[in-house]
């Protein structure tokens, strides 16, 4: 008697969402099955891998990442280099220098970088804000303006600023990221609010939050599991948006990664620890249902890209 598995294909599916323009544009979502369950039904769009650089350039990168950008003298140089790495589907520019509690760079300065980067690469672009919801209102709105026609993703609209960021996305025809930090009810509510404010549900991606492996990651797993169950099994249209997860910003600051080789010699290579933390967290995020991940280390990007190709 042959083994015949019952299909787990759902009647509902995740919305498909395009970021970027032209040949390099990427489409997220569209699947009607759980993550990588290609044995249930074909997965229309493989999950995508983005690489992250920041407005702070080389200085902000860990040592093992800097090596890959050797010779770059500007953020634009880094963007061009990043676009060439194996497995990169899109570019994420994090404007962390804008953080009022950090470098507190001016909006003008940051927007100049956004403009330069957008002009230098033809990859789909994700623009991440600066940790201040208030400042992001203006920062992401201005970014939306200068990226006119690029169909970029604004990351992100939060509970505190969704009206402004959503309106900017709507006015400048950009994709809006809805960010909730591992709170499933808020994830749904933000999608509803953005939709009610006029943003096309087809132009919303969710960042439901993440954590590094071992750091309360169980909440990430269960939030994503439940979102997928609601979207696919209950057909909840307010949760059928594809999920994009910035992983880099979670993993490169944990102890397992930043501890120096002299501090804890038995742990071995700091470079390997960084890559494996990023690779394993990204894998876990993808297997929980993320449609895209944002990573930092080129070797992580190549590995995750290879994994995805093997699975879809």
């Amino acid at each position: 008697m042959p083994f015949t598995a019952k299909s787990g294909k759902f009647n509902a599916s995740i919305r498909s969402l395009t970021i970027g323009i032209g040949d390099k544009a990427i489409t997220l979502g569209g699947e009607c099955v759980l993550p990588f369950y290609s044995f249930d039904a074909a997965i229309e769009n493989a999950p995508k891998v983005g690489i992250e650089i920041t407005d702070c350039g080389m200085a902000a990168e860990p040592e093992s990442v800097q090596k890959y950008y050797e010779g770059c003298t500007s953020v634009t140089d880094m963007a061009k280099r990043a676009a060439e790495f194996d497995g990169v589907d899109f570019l994420s520019l994090r404007l962390e220098g804008g953080d009022p509690n950090g470098l507190n760079k001016s909006i003008e300065e940051l927007i100049r970088i956004v403009k330069d980067v957008a002009a230098a690469v033809d990859l789909p672009l994700v623009v991440c804000g600066c940790k201040s919801e208030k400042k992001d209102e203006e920062l992401l709105s201005k970014a939306a303006e200068v990226l006119n026609g690029k169909n970029a993703l604004l990351l992100a609209a939060k509970e505190e600023n969704y009206k402004t960021v959503g309106a900017a996305g709507l006015a400048c025809k950009q994709v809006v990221g809805a960010e909730s930090s591992v709170d499933i009810n808020l994830a749904k509510q933000l999608n509803v609010l953005l939709t009610q404010s006029g943003v096309d549900p087809q132009a919303i991606a969710m960042n439901i939050g993440s954590a590094a492996a071992g750091y309360g990651f169980e909440y990430v797993i269960s939030t994503m599991d439940r979102i997928k169950a609601a979207a696919l099994s209950q057909g909840d249209a307010a949760l059928q948006m594809p999920i994009i997860t910035p992983v880099a910003c979670e993993v490169w600051s944990v102890k397992e990664v930043i501890a120096s080789e002299s501090d804890i010699p038995e742990w071995g290579s700091a470079k390997e620890r960084g890559i494996d933390m990023e690779v394993e967290t990204a894998t876990a995020v993808l297997f929980s249902g993320s449609d895209a991940v944002i990573l930092k280390h080129p070797e992580s990007v190549a590995t995750i890209s290879k994994l995805i190709k093997e699975l879809v």
Binding site: N185, V192, L193, Q234, A238
Partner: protein, 261 residues
């Protein structure tokens, strides 16, 4: 657990304006009411064309095509005692948004409606009633068994038979209400789906009382495991109660705006 299925009851020959529109094949009043119900959150629309003995087949076809073309293949419950009309309706039915529901079989003269549902891969409402009103739940469950066996024999999945306990009017049969609720619990314990004309309970009550009674009953019935009801979705209080119960039962995920979606 799936979301509670609201079947909108307002496209019925019992409403004079709809009866007239059916007779005259006048789309406007029908589409207007259909839209009101869908906007309010109806999942299925019941299309009750009455006995329609002379032109039932033609009328049902017309109604199905009218509604499905206007509202993106909205799923429908085909409600008539004219079997040929149901068959005709199904011949033009598009199931992209859900199987058709046949309304309804019973354990007496209309048991072969289950055969019809089986042959057409439709859902069938199965009224746990024989001749006259069942005297107790033993009798209801006897009918339930008869109907279930018939459906399964014909090759239906049990989940496609939605059992109707037959809601009874409070004024006159107040003592039967808990029986009905217990019967729903039995369906649910058996793992069966259920539905029914829930607002029948408030028949004859003052107009302002009815939404209150209907809401109270739907909450109690959902607690017992009722999975669907044929109701007026434009009763705001009732719909708010259903949506809230769906949240409490975990059938939908909570969001602050849950009443608006």
């Amino acid at each position: 657990m799936g979301k509670f299925v609201v079947i909108g009851e307002r496209l019925s020959v019992t409403a004079p304006i709809i009866n007239k529109a059916f007779t005259e094949r006048d789309p406007e009043p029908i589409l207007k009411r259909a839209k009101q119900q869908l906007d309010a959150g109806a999942v299925y629309l019941d299309v009750n064309i009455g006995p329609a003995q002379s032109d039932g087949a033609d009328l049902m076809k017309w109604a199905v095509q009218l509604l499905q073309s206007e509202f993106d293949n909205v799923p429908l419950a085909l409600d008539t005692s004219n079997k040929a009309a149901i068959e005709a309706g199904m011949s033009v039915y598009n199931r992209a948004k859900g199987k058709p529901i046949i309304n309804s079989a019973d354990a007496a003269g209309r048991i072969e409606y289950l055969d019809l549902a089986a042959a057409n891969d439709a859902i069938c409402i199965a009224l746990c009633n024989g001749e006259g009103i069942a005297k107790d739940n033993d009798e209801r469950m006897m009918y339930c068994q008869t109907l279930l066996e018939r459906g399964l024999e014909q090759g239906m999945e049990a989940e496609d038979i939605w059992f109707d306990p037959l809601f009874l009017v409070v004024k006159g049969m107040q003592d039967k209400q808990m029986q009905i609720l217990e019967c729903i619990k039995m369906f649910s314990d058996m793992g069966l789906n259920s539905t029914g004309g829930l607002s029948n309970n408030s028949n004859g009550m003052p107009k302002h009382i009815r939404p209150i009674m209907d809401s109270a009953l739907v909450a109690m019935a959902m607690m017992q495991g009722l999975t669907s009801a044929i109701v007026n979705p434009n009763d705001l209080r009732l719909m708010e109660t259903i949506k809230s119960c769906d949240i409490l039962k975990g059938n939908t995920l909570y969001a602050d705006s849950y009443l608006e979606i």
